[in-house]
């Protein structure tokens, strides 16, 4: 999602994520800056935001995306672009025990370059340590896919009537725009 300047590029990048998030949370995503030569993050002002399930259970969502801003070759005429560099989407129970998480952080873990999923202690009392240690290989996982999983599988209450449509639209945009 290109922009005429770094700020516009970041705003264009965060806007669809924010819209997807609005399907079940009033949480606000913020960038860590607008510099073109450093790694940046988009996340909440707090480690997690609260979710509620149809059954009344409180869950917590954790979201971080690392990104960088790519300068155009000719800044006067070109557009600034944002490239995703890492992500973590996690679901936690009411006690902040992690249940599951979708991770991709190749620059922090040279030996684990691929997107993966973790199953944590919050998924059940008898989850073996070996299972909790495994990086289950996945495709690149869109935030919208995680949102759909929250609503369909964890029965998180949508905050808007058009949640399904919003997530499908944004997922299609993501799939058209992604480069891998």
């Amino acid at each position: 999602m290109p922009g005429r300047n770094p700020r516009e590029a970041v705003d264009e990048y965060i806007a669809p994520l924010q819209r997807s998030l609005s399907c079940f949370s009033p949480g606000i995503l913020r960038p860590s800056g607008y510099d073109t030569d450093i790694l940046l993050q988009a996340t909440f002002s707090y480690p997690t935001v609260e979710l509620m399930t149809v059954g009344g259970e409180i869950l917590h969502l954790s979201f971080v995306q690392g990104f960088s801003i790519i300068q155009p070759l000719f800044p006067k005429f070109g557009r600034y672009k944002v490239r995703t560099r890492s992500y973590i989407y996690q679901l936690e129970n009411s006690n902040h025990q992690e249940i599951l998480g979708f991770h991709w952080h190749p620059e922090n873990t040279p030996d684990i370059q691929y997107p993966h999923m973790h199953i944590y202690q919050g998924a059940g009392d008898n989850i073996r340590q070996e299972i909790r240690n495994i990086h289950f290989r996945t495709d690149r996982f869109a935030f919208e896919e995680f949102c759909q999983l929250l609503i369909k599988e964890f029965r998180v209450v949508p905050d808007r009537d058009d949640a399904e449509e919003v997530l499908s639209q944004n997922l299609r945009k993501f799939q058209n725009y992604k480069t891998w």
């Binding site: 965060i14 009033p26 913020r30 860590s32 002002s45 890492s86 190749p106």
Partner: protein, 81 residues
Amino acid sequence: MPALLESRQVKSGETSDAFTPEEANNLFDATARRYMGISGDEFLQRWDNGEFRDSESQARAMRVAILIPIVRKTSARKKSA
């Protein structure tokens, strides 16, 4: 949705400002305390010393480590995936 919650949502076309350095430090510290039970400063020191790389602690530590660039400027010129 309750009106109070709705009023906190970012409206269409509205953007949110970047973290100030103080907000970034507070977030990093809160995240380290939440996931690792230590302060942000201690996490940075121990991470720099090579701790938290074992398979048992890595998944939790990564939730904090991914935020390191928020408190410590990190070049984006490394290889990008």
